[in-house]
């Protein structure tokens, strides 16, 4: 059960997330920095809630303190050329 993959983009297992919590992570962001969970292509859209639930189970903290306050731009992957294309295009 602990070897199930929670973050599919970065292949992070439940056990790795438990280890990060044991090493001091208390938020989704803290787990992310220690394991890369949520740093992949989907930027945590799939695993964020799962990671938060594991932290809540382990630490007894309320969800509001665990989840990141807001998402950063871009909300979805964007082609660099769409924003950074040459002036004359």
């Amino acid at each position: 059960m602990d070897d199930i993959i929670i973050c599919r983009c970065q292949e992070v297992t439940r056990q790795e997330i438990l280890d990060a919590i044991a090493a001091g992570a208390t938020t989704v962001d803290g787990v992310k920095r220690r394991t890369r969970a949520g740093m992949g292509l989907c930027q945590g859209k799939t695993c964020e809630r799962l990671v938060a639930k594991i932290i809540a189970e382990q630490t007894g903290r309320p969800m509001a303190e665990i989840l990141p306050p807001k998402s950063r731009i871009p909300v979805r992957p964007v082609k660099i050329g769409i924003i950074g294309g040459k002036d004359d295009e």
Binding site: R33, M39, L41, I73, P74, I80, G81, I83, G84
Partner: protein, 391 residues
Amino acid sequence: MSKDADIIVIGGGIIGCSVTYQLSKLGKKVLQIEREDITRGAAGATDGVVGYHTKKPGAQMDLAVQSISMFEHLSEELGEDVEYGFHCGGMQPVEDQLQWDILSGIVEEQRKSGVDIRMISIEEAREIEPMLAPDLKGALYSPTGGKVNPIKLTIAFSNAAKKLGATVMTETEVTDLIMEGTAVKGVKTTKGDFYADAVVNSCGAWAANIGKMAGLNIPIQPRKGQLIVTEPIGPFMDVTLQCARYNVIKFRPEAVDDPAALKIGNSLSIEQTETGGLIIGGTREFVGYDRENSLEAIETILRRAVRFFPALKDICFIRAFAGLRPYTPDGLPLIGKVNAREGFYIAAGHEGDGIALSPITGKLLAEQIVYGKESYSLESFDPNRFPLESA
């Protein structure tokens, strides 16, 4: 009052973690206090350039040479892989004759520290990095010098320190210093008071706030840098690359003629991480403690990226973020004892070089605190060069 530790280190960035590790290694009992979490500061929102070619000629370059030599064995010493690559090299392509002349001048100065940095033609540059645009003029090139994963390095310092007995308190904010006359005796925090023989201020861009608690005026200001990260792609580039404007904005801002670029301090920096994503930056902005991303900056960064690597236009970026560099007026960090406050030390103000300078900063400051003298002189970085007691 009985003491809680030999030394209290405030701040859990890469500098605080390196200092904590080195003090622990010298047998000291250390209590490290971090307001949020380890790596929540600049170390968690940065590139990982550990190169010579981005260093200010003179004392900063000499210190970098000392620091980079420590990187070679860090993974081994800390017992964790910090993804250090020494031979990726560094490059700064130039667009025109003016940039060529300015960089050539800087290179002359940099070479005085005995490092291999030279100017090469665009043809040579494209042999090393084939994806570079062919219509550039040439490049500054440094065959050695590398990159590291800054988050992994910070966490590795911290884990190694804990193994040596250091105590790390996160989600604990230092709200005041405990003073006895002009001596610093401990800290007041959101989780109680703690006493020690010495207190180290390693709060990066926030170091001036801690200074105020000691009645000191530390001339460090936050300088924001925005970055974007792309989706992982196959091997794209080896070097860490900055456009020529990077060194020009860093060392000769008066030579930049584009007011828009100067305002946000835009210059391209780009590197590929071990997991395949590219980190593309960056800006140098004085906007207080704001850590938001602006569309204006992202657009400018991406335009510059496509200018140098046209193939990037078809790659997706997945995230933008921003970090606060600790800026100092002379571009050099403050490392060492504050003469006017017994028991108070500073290790902060590394601006854009804190990752590269983290190992040596921790080592030399720990030696100064424990032995009263460091093995390589910190004279150029002495905090007392600034009028700290001025109102």
